[in-house]
Symmetry: C2
Subunit: 431 residues, 2 copies
């Protein structure tokens, strides 16, 4: 897609119908168009198949929203979530739409700070502010949201969010023993009951089996893609990879899977042809830590405009979302729910204690991706990832891995300082 | 006790035996002596019975530590905790010592910040720093510590603390439904097993019944004391009340109970005689929120040197510690553990969601204490109390209660600013 023709679309009539603050929101598409052109479209030698993902961004506030409005008119539920622990297979089973509502924009934070404390996670503030300011069409289209208890800030914010949109909460335990699994399965069953209620449709062995396959396929496609991107020289940029992993949270799974495979096919040819986005001598950086929700491209943009390439994201908007699939051999719905819960229990968020398997996982991904340095990215005030970074640093020291811990929010204020630190880190890698 | 004779004692030989950094710690007793003289002993017309609590402070680093060393030599376990959710009755049942290790001092924070992120709770940093720097005799004397999962910062810090002292963790669920209770009881049983292991002594129906009575008696004594202090004009200062509630976490329960009752008897005579620490026209302030661990007297000192009196602490070092007792009518040990768990489930920490009973409890205590304004105190970066303060504010607006939310750490830097805000708040109450 050429930089001149790319434009994020507007649809004030649709937004009006969704009770948005249309006047205020109207500034968003042109603003995001400009940012996207500068950050993504100026990249050289992007894969052709990125054209689909560019179009998903063009339609982010219109076409994709219209699809969700249509789904609702067909009686299909539309459910908003904030965490990869909420099992979207259940929503898929009743042919519903599951959409990630994590906020990645500084624009809605002042709305949130009228109510919430300032010194909490920017992602939580951004999401809450989107709803309070009525400036996110996804928040406006959902039937309800399903939060969870993975961190203090989110857990307590859901209580307040419930004043603006029906908010259910899934209790995610803090350890992973048999007693925690028991509790967790009950939570999954509650979620299922809520989805059945809103959709007026039963989750059956058959439709759940189909849903598990759909999402396993999606996760396998993403695994394939991430595996290909690990090739040196890189056939695709880290920015484009981040973008695709962000789009995974609002696209239709089947279509998304198909488009990811098309991209994978292209990357395979690229690798064969030695067609890369950067020479093999380019410093390769892996990013671990907290998720980067759309349109948070800050760190990747800094890294890749500083002459390095990002080769892996160990994050919820990254490998934590797709590294595990659900065993498809269950014979009953109870077994399915148990296999499903077991899969979700493998996700190694820092909300768990102990969580040493995450340290092992980071090391494993580091080796697999052929990275030469690890940047741990922590959203400001995220205590669990921030403290767990101490263990990551220890592991990196032991393994001789160059390590940089960054804590940042969505404001542009620290960009200069981060740029300096990232550049110094790249120099260190280059030796 | 006169200001001239009061002195916090030193015992370098004892500290040496506990592997403390004796040279560094030697500065602590004289420093704290000075602070205590200024903050406590300059108060006028203190109850006579405060002489015992003053002596507990004089012996805080010596006599009381020696008692714990003696207990260990008798084979009794000494267990450190950080939270009112860890059931001390179980420790008491085997005649062990349970001591609260929450840190209230800025002095150990630089030690912690060499390892932990800066932007987490000062109480967690202070406690962790005490251990890392070997500058807290209580941390040095314990056999092990038992942490819990009530907040992100604590939960993840225990993983690191375990490198310095054996650290067990009790999972406290995040909701209070039947399934949470089931998990919770299992956690209580794990705690019991750990205490039995370290003490090589069984927790039986009989010794647990005795322990429940001892701690119920202690809680009832504190209820009596808090009820008397609500009298207008106040027979005791808020500072002295806070001090007693802090001492509750390291004194022997039986002796403490006896001394609290002696104080209560004196307060009853004082009330009869109209002998108060301030005239009935003194503005009466209730404090809610996060605990103030020894020697954190910052806010109370500001309030009471600004011409008001603190009449209630809705806090873990406050009413949350003693408002509930355990039903003593269980017939079996399993029933005892269930009744015990039920009692602990009544504690309304903001770590739970939803937690509306706390809002009701604050209002209830506000009315009972005859307060004229509520100051909500939040330790910096404590997300759960900080966000829950939004609901407190809403309740206060609805009820017409003057409300001030304060977020602070242990540094003296914001004292001037807090003083100004508190003075303005007191003026507002006076109308």
């Amino acid at each position: 897609m050429s930089q001149e023709t790319f434009a994020i679309k507007s649809d004030p009539a649709l937004w009006e119908k969704l009770d948005m603050d249309v006047e205020r929101f109207s500034n968003m598409p042109p603003m995001l168009t400009g940012a996207y052109q500068g950050i993504f479209l100026e990249q050289k030698n992007r894969p052709q198949a990125m054209v689909y993902f560019d179009s998903m961004i063009e339609n982010i506030f219109t076409g994709r929203i219209q699809e969700m409005v249509d789904a609702k008119e067909e009686g299909r539920p539309v459910v908003g979530t904030f965490c990869v622990y909420v099992p979207e297979e259940i929503v898929q089973a009743v042919n519903g739409v599951c959409v990630g509502l994590c906020g990645g924009s500084p624009g809605s934070i002042p709305d949130a700070e009228k109510i919430l404390p300032r010194n909490i996670c920017p992602m939580v503030k951004s999401a809450f502010g989107f709803k309070v300011g009525r400036i996110c069409p996804y928040f406006q289209v959902v039937d309800f949201v399903y939060g969870e208890t993975t961190c203090d800030a989110k857990k307590k914010t859901w209580e307040l969010l419930n004043d603006y949109v029906p908010t259910h909460v899934m209790e995610i335990p803090q350890m992973k023993r048999e007693r925690d699994k028991k509790l967790w399965i009950e939570e999954v069953k509650d979620f299922k009951a809520e989805i059945e209620k809103i959709s007026d449709k039963k989750v059956t062995f058959e439709n759940l089996q189909g849903a598990i396959r759909v999402l396993n396929d999606k996760r396998r496609a993403m695994q394939r893609l991430n595996s290909l991107r690990h090739h040196n020289p890189s056939p695709i940029s880290g920015k484009d990879m981040l973008l695709i992993q962000q789009i995974a949270f609002y696209d239709t799974p089947q279509r998304f899977t198909e488009k990811v495979h098309e991209l994978c096919d292209e990357l395979e040819s690229r690798i064969e042809q030695g067609n890369a986005v950067a020479p093999s001598s380019t410093p390769r950086i892996m990013v671990s830590g907290t998720p980067m929700a759309l349109p948070n491209w800050k760190l990747h943009n800094i890294i890749e405009t500083s002459g390095a390439v990002v080769v892996n994201e160990e994050s919820c908007i990254g490998t934590r979302y797709y590294k595990d699939t659900i065993d498809e051999n269950a014979q009953t719905i109870d077994e399915q729910l148990e296999r499903l819960t077991e899969r979700y229990m493998q996700i190694d968020c820092s909300c768990f204690t102990p969580n040493d398997e995450r340290i092992d996982q980071v090391l494993n991904e580091y080796k697999t991706s052929g990275a030469q340095g690890l940047i741990d990215y922590c959203l400001q005030f995220c205590h669990t990832y921030n403290i767990e970074a101490v263990k990551l640093r220890q592991m990196c020291e032991k393994e001789g891995i160059p390590f940089l811990a960054i804590e940042s929010d969505y404001s542009p204020e620290d960009v200069g300082q981060l740029q300096t630190r990232v550049e110094a880190f790249i120099e260190q890698i280059q030796g």
